[in-house]
Symmetry: D2
Subunit: 347 residues, 4 copies
Amino acid sequence: MVVVMEMTSSVQQIEAVNTMLDRLGFQTQLIRGVKRIVIGAVGDRPVSDLQDLQLMPGVEKIVPIMKPYKLVSRECKGDNTTIQVGAVTVGGADLTIIAGPCAVESRPQLLTSAHQVRQAGAQIIRGGAFKPRTSPYSFQGLEEEGLKILKEASQTTGLPVVTEVIDEASLQMALDYVDMVQVGARNMQNFRLLKAVGQTDKPVLLKRGMSATVEEWLMAAEYIMSEGNSRVILCERGIRTFETATRNTLDLSAVPLVKRLSHLPILVDPSHGTGDRGLVLPMSMAAIAAGADGLILEMHPEPAKALSDGPQSLTPPELEQLMQQLSLIAAAVGRNLAGTSIPHEVA
Amino acid sequence: MVVVMEMTSSVQQIEAVNTMLDRLGFQTQLIRGVKRIVIGAVGDRPVSDLQDLQLMPGVEKIVPIMKPYKLVSRECKGDNTTIQVGAVTVGGADLTIIAGPCAVESRPQLLTSAHQVRQAGAQIIRGGAFKPRTSPYSFQGLEEEGLKILKEASQTTGLPVVTEVIDEASLQMALDYVDMVQVGARNMQNFRLLKAVGQTDKPVLLKRGMSATVEEWLMAAEYIMSEGNSRVILCERGIRTFETATRNTLDLSAVPLVKRLSHLPILVDPSHGTGDRGLVLPMSMAAIAAGADGLILEMHPEPAKALSDGPQSLTPPELEQLMQQLSLIAAAVGRNLAGTSIPHEVA
Amino acid sequence: MVVVMEMTSSVQQIEAVNTMLDRLGFQTQLIRGVKRIVIGAVGDRPVSDLQDLQLMPGVEKIVPIMKPYKLVSRECKGDNTTIQVGAVTVGGADLTIIAGPCAVESRPQLLTSAHQVRQAGAQIIRGGAFKPRTSPYSFQGLEEEGLKILKEASQTTGLPVVTEVIDEASLQMALDYVDMVQVGARNMQNFRLLKAVGQTDKPVLLKRGMSATVEEWLMAAEYIMSEGNSRVILCERGIRTFETATRNTLDLSAVPLVKRLSHLPILVDPSHGTGDRGLVLPMSMAAIAAGADGLILEMHPEPAKALSDGPQSLTPPELEQLMQQLSLIAAAVGRNLAGTSIPHEVA
Amino acid sequence: MVVVMEMTSSVQQIEAVNTMLDRLGFQTQLIRGVKRIVIGAVGDRPVSDLQDLQLMPGVEKIVPIMKPYKLVSRECKGDNTTIQVGAVTVGGADLTIIAGPCAVESRPQLLTSAHQVRQAGAQIIRGGAFKPRTSPYSFQGLEEEGLKILKEASQTTGLPVVTEVIDEASLQMALDYVDMVQVGARNMQNFRLLKAVGQTDKPVLLKRGMSATVEEWLMAAEYIMSEGNSRVILCERGIRTFETATRNTLDLSAVPLVKRLSHLPILVDPSHGTGDRGLVLPMSMAAIAAGADGLILEMHPEPAKALSDGPQSLTPPELEQLMQQLSLIAAAVGRNLAGTSIPHEVA
């Protein structure tokens, strides 16, 4: 950490800061500049403990040097982490494509979707049983009934399933039915939920909050890992900016940036990221080209009848076409798209 | 709602949209322009049910006309709502000043703070027992022990207390100890929590999410009200923008805008809104001048020792000075600042 | 400046950075931490010269310590600057209210406006002769004819006038007719224009760019001052954020922040800042309460007939009402609003 | 256009709006809803002329239906536009790679760069002679001397050159030396400059402003085209958001979106878009996968000695590697990368 003193700070003030740093266990060193005195402080205290320094007389600002996260960092673990979700390995040479409807609406809708997802060559099925909706008057999900349908879809197709959890109760319920739980963008800083999923051993798909910096997102992953669950998969899903022509602004630069800062796998959600079915294909291609480990896509047997997020859902033929085009991009970046070899259905 | 058809849409496509609108219970009317055909649709369905229209062939876009919220709207209730928090009326001619430390750190720290808050003339005491912190390694709050201290502070000073709740468990626990619960910015779209507080009869201080539009914020209030609890007080606390010189960008325009759109009271939090002790006084003045019904302020007996948010906390003398200057602004906008008459302490 | 080395940097890399810093004229000092080596570097080179350091092997990041602006800074000049615009002093105890239509549309429109502005008690008249419009098909201003009308309005009312300039040609033309030139938000980083106004001795009203940080805005002022013209008045007019309920997000925290960082006067434009006539009054009050030295307001004799920015223009009676309410706020913050004593008209 | 009347609007108010619309040349149609009356208005007036309607008593809001741009729109011209820059065709099946240093620093630096650019297989050389720099104390460009060096580089390598112009004087000067002029992000709404380049017949590379919506960007192109120059190439270069981990947020969704809305070619600038050399390769790949017609890249013979933008400049070997990897992505999306066949040097 570096403490920048004000141009007008007195010898006593500098002394006082030094003493305080000493008390906090830092080794200090004074750097006398032309217009500023700067105090370098060496130690290992979390940044959050140091803000009181900022209030000491004569202090202009505190500049932290260390990153606030540890377990998630590439410094802590140099090689890429792969995470097992059922029989699927996320983060290795094979790309992972997760697809399915935004919400589980009915047994026939989800089972049909699941077969279409498998037919298209995707590896994991998605479907929401608990829906965080902006309006209290919108469809909120089938809850446990939805989880049962997801489990049936998994058993019928042989593919693992993922679903969003929105509090501890829904998490506890979901643990019995699904292979991976998702923490949604709106809950990325629901720290209670992060701790709760951190106390399970389920893989966690952690979406970036819509106004979260990459650092805050990695801190959210640190919350989960600090509780003991290291099976975290990150998911970029667009951030909120001034641009309203798309639902969100998909921040693909975050993909190579996260790869540099962390060892965790990262997926991209171009469906929520754009909110526009016509942009899902090109942005899926771009995401893989940028180095993402896979995608999570919305597909609905009949988007026009979807109870939520219809406008951004692909049709089954569109998903198949996307998978084909994706295989070309995958090859260009040295990744595999397993989808070509469809395993036999589990009776 | 208005459906804008693409320039190239066919007669059949227009017919199909018309039929669908009819089925959804809308009365429709065709408007033929030079380059576009537009279909006006009259009805009362929530916007969320209509997005499938956007997927019909030939449809360019859907333009909603109605606001998505009802109970919170000024159209629904023309006169200002006042809300009782203990003996304090929020939203009337008297301004409401809530003050206290960010976190309850110890019994002496909070009791000292509480007396200083009362001494300065503020009406409600704040203090966090459950702290949502960005880092898992930071202080997370005293939990139930903190709630007990808050209750004691309330009994000793005669002032009501407010504290943040972060999930259903903390809410249930808090109900016995405090006079108002706060839903923080990070939980503004934690819809489970919104429903849970909506099922109590406690006053709720609902902070705006850091990337929430005013409309989304009012929808969050609608969630609470739609469950039966109409005692909602809104609180502007800054939004996230590209500007990093302040911790957040305090959006004071939201104050008169919310007053136009809704009948609910609105407070402002200049401490989190700026993250900078030196800006709290001028922005407090500005908030009241803009029409806010009051403020929520961080004050700490010794900010340099605060376990969280020290840099934005006022000292007790600063709070007293603020109250004095505020009384001049209050008078200029026709509001009262009750602080001058301090009630006798409850033994 | 502080150079943070990567955890894995070698002795040779550290040596190389040290040598380079030495060559650039810095004195250096090594700080050895537990996980990082940090090099403190003392000197006076502009930040922009140092980015090559960031490319040296082993360097993680560069942390600048010094602010990049000098002449505009409070460190450079401790007391507030006041600027003379005709007979009006901006930045002193008296508030400065600038009012008038967005655009000069015709001689009668502007002369009527000018008298209404004077009648209401404002001190300076505004009116655009060169209009930067988003659409090439919109009204672009009366240009020199407009300037002549502005000069006539000034002579008739005895009030100084300000108008926006948009390139060197319009600047040269305006110098003969107006008392102050305005550099608009879209031109805040038109560095050629900044230099050109810096080479005149006219007062300059420098609006903040809609996505400019406070630091970039002060750097734009530095451009003007570095050319020799120190008569710069800053003007906050709202920044672009995700919120679309208002045209811009008026960043009032920038007012006390600029007062801390710089000695220059600062005005606020609540008309563009909100884009909403109904919000102009409360945000004007808030701006003065936050410490602004004055306001620039849009007023039109008949807003419904305005050729630009009608929805945010006040009517003459609204301006008068605003001036009255403002005088109460002015008193509350120890400022004067001169408007009460209207000087006799110049024949 | 659709005019939404307030719930409480009177028959007289509705009548008055109808009369006004009639006078403005619109055909109107009344839509009576349960809670709102909406007036559909058919006509062809620019949106900017209609804002006065918003001020009429009883009007809640105006909803424009038509897009504000014409000449740039895909509706106006269905097939993709290709633009000739010297012997290079931009916007066809062949991708266009523009590369070179941020600034022309010296004759040897640029000529070396130019040969390296050609060697790597790029088609157009870039280099700044007029540099818009945030600080007045930074290097501002070699101006006409730089233009002469650019022309020499073009003649020696046989490749066309592009340079940024920043006002009418620099534009007039550049016309004799370069094959394409660039309007930079900071000047995207410098309407005088847009008109001036619109009055030439040079190809124009129009960068998106850092806080410009896609619609505003297309309006800037409309400015150029409305003056008669239809040779406009768009360039996405990142927008400003709350995220500070990258210099800007590269908005790749804008690529397929622009392709839908407009017939003009679009390039991507991953160097400015990320500000981080390590992210340029993956984001270049992503840009082409998303459908961009090419890239503009910063390359410097010795980035550590660059006078501007060093940290985001590729080295010559990095550019060569990028071109090779890019050719794989190009093939995957059905585009050609001409770079493999290098034409013989012009003596």
